[in-house]
Symmetry: C2
Subunit: 322 residues, 2 copies
């Protein structure tokens, strides 16, 4: 009776924490987007995996929503000396991507293990275990897929973090592309988890840049479509707004609707059910018209009780006895 | 009237600082050993270059003799979580090589610039400039040379830092080898500096693992031998003991003499003069017998005055008007 969760970062992390209240953690598999992964200063950085690991471990900074609590920033502060003086054209010493001093250890370990020949799947499991996680965390692929974002006003395509962090996701986008997705495969662990799961949850993550990279891998959408009755998506759009991040603006900029109906149209082919918040109850008929069943329950996880109920209703929608 | 100094780490750094009191800093070139360079956590680390940069900048930790003052160690502390749990056979998350949080910025910058295609020569100059150095610091080569140390009791050969830091240079050595030196070339900047210098100083650094890697590069010893009258070495052995590090033990373990006479035998072919401390004055005849002239002056740089006098006497021995 395992549960597989397609995951981006913060929203997925919070859902996994909530899910732990209603389902055994060692029967839970998080399948995590790695399209945001980047290399900075020579270090291999997997932001979504780390956000989930730290959040589920209870070590995340609750204010920021990313990075470790009680963090210090001495390395980044010292980097300014070089950033201010780097030669024209150099992108060395980027100070726009904050890496906390303690957080660096995670990137050090990941980088060294990958250099030793370990797969990202292995390293992710080792890091999760080091933080005491019972859940199985799986990167979507051991091969590199890079989410590339077209910027409308600059007329250029940049790597995801250059949009999301460097430009604070405040500029309009014109395209999203998953570089490498044509040839990258999901891991066999990912395929097995999705094949075996009693319920598959699409976490309340950005559908365009967190869930879409996973779906872009060969075979994922076909597998999900074939198991559509067991797939339940939780809308990351509540009352027309993204719970976090730029999903609402991106949907509009890319010609979709920033509403639970827009989400339903994106997910109808792979998920039978969409979980929405009561504020969007009036849109249920349009979701059904788009081809999805609707579950209405509080979906903003402000309290542990709300989170647990959201998790319980989500599993029930997939036909699991909870 | 430029001065070129063949450099290891701490001893050379202190000599460069002393030299600044008697010779224009912008006419001083430090040619620095990179045989100690290593990659840890994916980061390119050049210990001797950094020790010199930080020391000349006045930013070195005066107690430790390496790393930055007012340093913190949060990243290293956090690394323990992974070091304790890494799989058998993995060498990821090495905690035996301490990297301070502020110091990390230097390795971040170097790593990123090298990844952009900059040479180590360029990056070293940029880092030195960022710290306000007027002296020109040149890595001995832009190609990789790795000092490998044979360990007598373990019967294995290890990279220099595994001997020097991991084993605290407390185990007997059976060999020293410079992997890559056959094919690595000194940079044209190094050759030009040695060619043009009015005086060439061999700093009081370990002759076997700091100076020898520079000498192992094609053409260096020939050039030095041809300019032998302008080359002055400062003995790193005083009263039979190394000022710092394991040079005295290494000399004996490798079948040489841990004395100024042993040093003279190593340097006689490339340097006309050896500077020794008054405590070794009685050995002057043996140094002369080995083929070197002797200059006797206080060589332990306990005060700025002693350092300046050492520098002045050293330049004078090369025939410079000081």
């Amino acid at each position: 009776m395992s549960v597989a969760v397609l995951c981006g970062g913060v929203g997925a992390a919070r859902f996994l924490r909530a899910l732990a209240g209603v389902h055994p953690t060692n029967d839970t598999v998080g399948i995590v987007n790695t399209g945001d992964d980047t290399v900075l200063h020579g270090l291999s950085i997997s932001p979504d995996i780390d956000t989930i690991t730290y959040t589920v471990a209870g070590a995340i900074d609750p204010e920021r929503g990313w990075g470790l609590r009680d963090e210090t920033w001495r390395a980044m502060e010292a980097l300014a000396r070089y950033a201010e003086r780097r030669p024209a054209g150099s992108r060395a010493a980027p100070t726009w991507f904050n890496l906390g001093d303690q957080d660096l250890a995670t990137h050090f370990y990941r980088t060294a293990r990958l250099a030793e020949g370990a797969t990202l799947t292995q390293v992710t499991a080792e890091i999760a275990a080091a933080w005491g996680l019972q859940q199985h965390l799986l990167p979507m692929s051991d091969e590199r897929v890079s989410t590339m974002v077209g910027l409308r006003d600059e007329g250029v395509e940049v790597a995801f973090q250059e949009y999301f962090v460097q430009r604070r996701h405040s500029v309009p986008v014109s395209s999203v592309r998953f570089d490498g997705a044509d040839s990258a495969r999901p891991t066999r662990q990912v395929m097995a988890a999705l094949h075996d799961a009693s319920a598959i949850v699409v976490a309340p993550s950005n559908p365009l840049v967190s869930i879409a990279p996973i779906r872009a891998l060969t075979g994922i959408d076909e597998l999900l479509a074939g198991r559509r009755e067991q797939v339940v998506a939780i809308s990351p759009i509540v009352g027309g707004a993204a719970l976090k991040g730029p999903a609402d603006r991106m949907l509009v900029e890319l010609g979709m609707e920033a509403s639970v109906v827009g989400i339903a149209r994106l997910y109808a082919s792979i998920a039978a059910t969409l979980v929405i918040d009561p504020v969007d109850a009036a849109l249920a008929p349009q979701i059904e018209a788009a081809g999805m069943r609707v579950v209405i329950t509080e979906s903003v996880m402000k309290t542990a009780d709300i989170g647990r109920e959201l998790a319980r209703r989500t599993l029930a929608a997939a036909g699991m006895p909870v």
